[in-house]
């Protein structure tokens, strides 16, 4: 027989241990509850023995408190998870409905396909442009070589040229002027 509230064992009948709970707070609230109802004032006196009914009442009360605290813990956990999830908007795929998940899959697939097609097209375009740039480089180099060789030939022609002609201004001046036609 339990003689006082404070003598209750922490363990339940089935051997499980209740969660952390302040015994003094429990006792106070029980005493208040009992005092208000006026039916079981025995708990106020720790030395008087409790009846079976009082013990049963107390166990029911403890069970209810534990259920309430469980519900509160669940609610708190839910609120906590919402608070933790909302700022970064992390969406757990398991929490999404099937439609939303399917929609997200379609969007992701479309995005990847778009990247693949347009990316491949642009890649090949870039490759072609690079090849064209290579060809232009080759053409420019050969053009430069050609110009150099033409210049060399002109110099050679100029040095060995016997072609001389009188320019138009030599008539007015009266003295023939020897010019080399570079063309």
């Amino acid at each position: 027989m339990v003689s006082s509230v404070n003598d209750y064992d922490d363990d339940f009948d089935d051997g499980t241990t209740p969660p952390r709970y302040s015994r003094s707070a429990m006792t106070l609230s029980i005493n208040r509850r009992v005092d208000e109802s006026g039916k079981t004032p025995v708990f106020d006196d720790p030395d008087s023995p409790a009846t079976q009914g009082q013990i049963a009442n107390f166990l029911r009360y403890v069970k209810k408190r534990l259920d309430d605290s469980d519900a509160g813990a669940k609610q708190q956990a839910e609120q906590f998870s919402q608070i933790m999830l909302s700022p970064t908007e992390i969406v757990d795929l398991r929490q999404l409905s099937g439609d939303t998940r399917r929609f997200k899959n379609w969007v992701l697939g479309g995005l990847l396909t778009f990247l693949l097609v347009v990316g491949g097209f642009l890649f090949s375009r870039g490759f072609g442009e690079g090849r064209d740039a290579n060809r232009i480089d080759v053409l420019e180099r050969s053009q430069r070589d050609l110009r150099d060789s033409i210049h060399g030939l002109e110099q050679l022609l100029y040095q060995r040229s016997e072609v001389r002609h009188v320019g138009p201004d030599s008539v007015s001046s009266g003295t023939p002027r020897v010019t080399h036609d570079q063309n």
Binding site: V91, L122, F123, G126, F127, G128, E129, G130
Partner: protein, 33 residues
């Protein structure tokens, strides 16, 4: 559930543009090797 954010689309477009441009440049650089 998930709020539709216009900025998200803007950033997505920006990322797409950069990725595609990088692919183009990669092709160009490979051809120039």
């Amino acid at each position: 559930m998930t709020k539709i954010d216009p900025w998200r689309f803007f950033i997505l477009g920006l990322v797409l543009f950069v990725v595609l441009w990088a692919l183009h440049a990669l092709g160009f650089a490979l051809a120039r090797l």
